[in-house]
Symmetry: C2
Subunit: 161 residues, 2 copies
Amino acid sequence: MLSAYRAVMQIDDVDRAILAILQRNSRTIAEDIGAEVGLSAAAVQRRIKRLRENGTINREVAVLDPRALGQEMTFVVLVELERERAHLLEELRRRFLEDEHVQQCYCVTGQIDFVLVISARDMAEFDAVTRRVLFDNPTVRRFTTNVVLDRVKVGLTVPTG
Amino acid sequence: MLSAYRAVMQIDDVDRAILAILQRNSRTIAEDIGAEVGLSAAAVQRRIKRLRENGTINREVAVLDPRALGQEMTFVVLVELERERAHLLEELRRRFLEDEHVQQCYCVTGQIDFVLVISARDMAEFDAVTRRVLFDNPTVRRFTTNVVLDRVKVGLTVPTG
DNA sequence: CATGAAAATTGCTAACC
DNA sequence: GGTTAGCAATTTTCATG
């Protein structure tokens, strides 16, 4: 658990302002950020370095257009498990993590046990993915597929206020 | 529609290799990428520039740790609409887009109409969010809340193969 | 201990070929 | 696409409150 580390962190309002900028555009240069938050470029860089080191900034990534890469379809799959035998559940999680077509995976409470976001070139590829990660597993009782009509909001931004 | 533009795009295997690297870590320097894909740093830069301009690289962002910002809880909310009156639906979409606690929103087919991923400091804040964006709307028939126990996979990575 | 200023380094950009 | 020169941004150093 990372609670111990988090207890050490102290994020002030200037940090929050910097983070708000970087989670929209991580290529914003330190000088511009400094102008925004009222700090020198060097001071901004030092804060960013600290935020990276203490894990507040998890990573910096390029967000790609799935369509440009031929991934025309997105699906939300709701997975219901037969029962929750610990080691089988772990096996399942590993499959989700390893499969690059499984973009997202949340383990949740309630009627549903897993929520998956899956991307695929077409229906045939999606079928192949579900067969690979869901059908071949006795733990999976059933799953319902929802075709995504519109990826209204796909960001990973976090409220910084 | 962007199909016309996409038809112009031609992404080869080297581009795909570069994209695969950048979507894990957008701060990877061109020289290192070049070593990986067998190109000079300048050539890599030129390709990245092109991929940004043609929209294959949508944007570059910092991924933050929600817990470091006090957002301890995540929810997956499945929304069912009363009926699909176009302008009310548009109003709803706008709410989802504007609310910074709504991290993700997918419009889907099937029994469900919207899938939302919502982050909040605690249950009280989550309740406030749902009241704000869901309760005050006649279009929403009902919604089911799923508390996220584990954010197993949260990336936005796209298969580049 | 965080800051700002300035030097030193690194990485990017834009010409060439 | 490679090479190189010039530039931009980051990183380090150092003095200051």
